[in-house]
Symmetry: C2
Subunit: 224 residues, 2 copies
């Protein structure tokens, strides 16, 4: 295993360079990019669909969707009427910068304000591969349990916003919200936090308001 | 990225050789080894705790527990009174054969009948790294959604048993059991399948009976 570490470092370094190139391109085309990450089944796609519905009359949107296999999620996103591209990683546990770089030419970036990336369902690997986006968002969910910040610290450390989905299910789970928040706060103090339910719509108003603030700030700077 | 593929192949090959060495050692000491895998929050640890309670009067048990960080799960397993070892992978998304090899000397294998491994919470990476166990078990859960076999085929293809946990929550989720089963059956025909609830205990009788059949068959062969 002695050979493993330097190789992994090379991959991360090459990835970071490509991520920077993606970021430069997105900045040039004044496109705000969001990377959604989550464990399988946390409700990433449902959260994204609600977010698209809230934003699509104000901004020009596009999305790409990463999965090991299938186009189930990209199909759901395309059904909202926005341009969507599926990336099948064929076994890799995360999107990386080169996959995004290869997908970007399929999007008409100069005419897109907000570019939404749905990463592969995984709490570990995606945290290690920068894509070049402007914000990283983690969708956690009540059924996963309140101990996840303690067990998956890298993911919780690297995001700019955290949605806790499926809060409508809190009565059916032994989920200690204070314990969860304490774990998050230790890793990522002051992290923007939104308890939501993609099923009922609860809590999304705050998330939309915060996200629009981020997008508008970016577009104003980019326009200036 | 051209350099990546051969390196990954080398890692897999080296891993497979070490897994075979682990398997030989376990066979020599007549220890039946089980590798539990699942998405974060599917209830792996709860399923394992119920399994330990059911088996511990009949067999001599030990366990190891893989996590990125923390000893939360190994502490819960040790609380049952069986020897338990924590492996912290420090960021790696799976256990591999060398981690197990390094942990085995900490277990008194000649005096252990059943060795339980709890892998890192992840639906992708653990499927690619053989550990040398006798059976691989996947714990799925209702809140994850019924589309997971379609989206994570490698994991569903590589296991000898599948538990669907949290079936007590079926009334609260749009989970189509037929769609789920159809996806599983296409990938892994005839797979042993156990709908259970670690919360209520529902369905565990069938799982315990099947597992004991596997263990007894192994121990008889090993003794013969």
């Amino acid at each position: 295993m002695t050979r493993k570490v330097p190789v992994v470092e090379n991959i991360f370094k090459a990835n970071d360079q490509l991520a920077q190139a993606n970021r430069n391109l997105l900045d040039q085309t004044r496109t705000f990019a969001i990377n959604f990450m989550a464990s399988p089944g946390a409700g990433k796609t449902s959260v994204i669909l609600r977010t698209i519905e809230a934003l699509k009359d104000k901004y020009r949107l596009a999305g790409i969707d990463g999965d090991l296999a299938s186009t189930l999620d990209a199909d759901r996103i395309a059904a909202t009427g926005i341009p969507a591209v599926q990336i099948n990683t064929g076994g890799t546990c995360h999107l990386d910068a080169v996959m995004v770089q290869n997908a970007l030419p399929k999007i008409d970036l100069p005419n897109i304000d907000v570019f939404i990336i749905e990463n592969v369902g995984n709490l570990i690997c995606p945290a290690n591969f920068a894509l070049g986006v402007h914000i990283n968002v983690l969708v956690a969910s009540v059924p996963e349990g309140d101990d996840k910040p303690y067990k998956y610290p890298t993911m919780y450390r690297g995001v700019q916003a955290l949605l806790l989905n499926k809060v409508d299910l809190l009565p059916y789970f032994d989920f200690d919200l204070d314990y969860f928040r304490k774990g998050v706060e230790a890793l990522n103090p002051g992290l923007a936090f939104f308890p939501v339910s993609a099923k009922t719509g609860e809590g999304f108003g705050e998330w939309f308001a915060w996200l629009q603030g981020q997008i508008d700030a970016f577009l104003q700077t980019a326009n200036g």
